[in-house]
């Protein structure tokens, strides 16, 4: 008999002191601290009870948030930014989703050029896209304030949309590449027209990618400075308003607005992470 019962000999899982892992972990923790401590400092100083940011810390005031709530310029800028971001999302999704389909499914001469051109604003420093669009709109003699107060200005809306459409295109395109095309063929085989197939089969497959991209575009538009800088008309956006404050020196009000933005960002990320998780299922 080859197989036989042997006395069991317990083996403890070997855990010799592992200096490499310990080193890696401490570096990792260090990098985390490097990334987060500065952000933490901003948040903590938003509750600092003095108009000079200094040592020692006197915590426990909300007065900077109250200053913020009464700052007409800041509120107008925030409203303008939201309006701009929503318009940007609408336009870039409208253009970007078909753009992704064009990249995924169509063949025509110049397609490669189209692909590169769509991606260009992602790759180039934002300032180049900014000055290019500034040149363009000024040659067209379009006023940077045109459309105000309905929109913060058509040039800046179009500028954000032009720069951020690439986000929608890349995210949706990446998803389309993973979509099983035979599902669509099955749908057409079962008498669904192209539109019905898109609506009932393709769209559900790319839904989270579109939503995720929209969320990303929204956040990026809210935070955009490089293009905005050159295209903004009469009404400042939130980042430009903050920038103006910063240029005048450190004011605790900026810490308060930064804290608010930080909290909102974390909220958006949580939603985004949920979307991505839904996706894996």
């Amino acid at each position: 008999m080859i197989a036989r019962a042997a006395p069991s000999t317990p083996i403890h899982r070997r855990q010799s002191p592992d200096w490499v892992s310990a080193g890696l972990w401490s570096v990792g923790v260090g990098v985390f601290l490097f990334i987060y401590l500065p952000l933490l400092v901003v948040v903590v100083y938003a509750f600092h009870d003095s108009s000079i940011i200094a040592w020692p810390l006197k915590l426990g005031t909300l007065r900077w948030f109250s200053t913020l709530a009464h700052d007409r310029g800041m509120i107008d800028a925030a409203l303008a930014s939201f309006k701009l971001a929503i318009l940007t999302v609408m336009i870039s999704v409208t253009i970007g989703v078909p753009g992704a389909f064009v990249l995924d499914r169509m063949e025509f001469p110049g397609k490669e050029a189209f692909r590169r051109m769509v991606l260009l604003p992602l790759i180039l420093p934002g300032i180049i896209t900014g000055v290019a669009l500034l040149t363009y709109f000024s040659l067209l003699k379009v006023s940077l304030s045109s459309g105000f107060p309905f929109v913060p200005g058509w040039p800046v809306v179009l500028g954000h949309s032009a720069a951020l459409t690439s986000i929608v295109v890349t995210q949706v395109f990446a998803r389309l590449q993973r979509v099983d095309r035979s599902q669509e063929e099955a749908s057409q085989d079962l008498y669904a027209s192209e539109w019905k197939t898109f609506w009932f089969v393709t769209l559900p497959n790319i839904r989270t990618a579109v939503l995720g991209a929209a969320l990303l575009v929204f956040t990026l538009s809210l935070d955009e400075i490089a293009v905005t800088f050159f295209l903004i008309g009469r009404q400042n956006t939130l980042p430009l308003q903050i920038w103006g404050q910063l240029r005048r020196g450190i004011t605790p009000e900026v810490n308060a607005i930064a804290t608010v933005i930080f909290a909102l960002s974390v909220g958006v990320i949580v939603i985004w992470a949920r979307l991505m998780k839904q996706d894996e299922r």
Binding site: A3, A5, A6, S8, T9, I11, R14
Partner: protein, 365 residues
């Protein structure tokens, strides 16, 4: 019997709630071709990973030449692995892949060159040594993976479903080739597969695993002709399983009551007593229909032909028995099959039926 090259003692491995391996003990002789056979989740790959050192057992020990190696990292074991998806290093040429292990062990350069060339010759890949893995076909990658492991002259070679990714024809060729190669180099092979036909073709011994335990160990012939459980009988090859109650037991002779008919069988290694419920396994190729000459040593069952499937060398005839059970009979090509719906008699020699006990869990319920 010489001392075993490798001995597994009571190996247990749990992943959370799931027990992948439940007290497996096994001795492996030097130079043998041993196959671990089982469905997915049976613990065969876990066993292999424990032997290779990619994982550690929760309990038990692994003795190689008498030394416990269960805690050693893979690079300190004189054991090599051929991975399921080959795991060739994509950024190295075929030659560099094969020489990797020797370089890591600081073998002198001229020796590396010579041994790599020999290994590549052995698997007939010398002409492609400068290629990158991605430029090779599946079969070629497989050969490189084999050479990469064998060049190190391991005490034991582990193969984790190495032919699983190949198409059927190539797989059959490689099975024979692997078998020949093993005989040539004389290295102990531990081979994991879920393909019972592959196991029967190649192995000196087969270990049938199920739910983290060893179900049966034996040569291919033993496993096929003398399965010791209903699971093994059903897993290896095709079989007809008949459930019956023991009515009489004298010497080696057992009489069974199937409900509407009586049959006889040999007890073999199974101890039975009257009243007990047992299973009888009858291979389809042992069955014959409507034999011309009658013999006293035949069992007979009547049934209706439900389906006739032509399968080249044989014709498979599905019978519906009066009790509702189904039976499959393999008729050799050349005999004229009956028509669907015809009433036939299936017969088999008494000694070709294998008596099997009920599974413990089945007996309990």
């Amino acid at each position: 019997m010489p001392p075993p090259i490798l001995e597994l003692r009571n190996l247990t491995r749990r992943f959370g709630e799931f027990t992948a391996l439940d007290g497996v003990s096994l001795e492996i002789a030097a130079g043998e071709f041993l196959t671990l056979l089982g469905a997915s989740g049976s613990g065969k790959t876990t066993t292999l990973r424990l032997i290779a050192g990619f994982d550690r057992p929760d309990r038990g020990s692994i003795l190689m030449d008498g030394q416990d190696i269960a805690g050693l990292p893979p690079f300190k074991r004189n054991i090599n692995t051929v991975f399921q998806q080959y795991a060739l290093f994509p950024h190295m040429s075929v030659r560099d892949n094969v020489g990797y292990g020797l370089r890591m062990r600081h073998v002198p350069k001229p020796d590396i060159a010579r041994r790599v060339s020999e290994a590549l010759d052995m698997v007939q890949m010398a002409h492609l040594e400068a290629r990158a893995p991605r430029q090779l076909s599946g079969g070629q990658q497989q050969r490189v993976a084999l050479a990469r492991a064998l060049v190190n002259r391991p005490r034991v070679l582990l193969l984790d479903e190495p032919l699983g990714a190949l198409d059927l024809k190539l797989r059959k060729e490689m099975q024979l080739e692997l078998k020949h190669l093993q005989a040539l180099v004389g290295i102990t092979f531990i081979y994991v597969t879920h393909d019972q036909e592959e196991a029967l073709t190649m192995s000196d011994r087969i270990v049938v695993m199920r739910q983290g335990r060893i179900e049966q160990i034996g040569t291919s012939r033993e496993i096929y002709t003398q399965p010791r459980s209903r699971y093994v009988a059903g897993f290896i090859g095709e079989t007809n399983l008949l459930k019956g109650r023991v009515t009489r037991h004298s010497g080696d002779q057992v009489s069974l009551d199937l409900g509407d008919s009586q049959i006889r069988a040999r007890a073999g290694e199974v101890t039975v007593s009257p009243g007990q419920v047992v299973w009888l396994s009858v291979r389809p190729e042992s069955l014959t229909m409507n034999p011309v000459a009658s013999s006293a040593e035949l069992n007979r069952l009547a049934g209706d032909v439900a389906d006739i499937v032509y399968a080249g060398s044989t014709t498979r005839i599905h019978l519906a028995l009066p009790g509702g059970e189904r039976m499959v009979v393999h008729e050799e090509a050349g005999r004229v099959p009956p028509n669907v719906g015809a009433r036939v008699t299936a017969t088999w020699p008494v000694e070709s039926g294998v008596l099997l006990p009920q599974d413990p869990e089945e007996a309990a319920s």
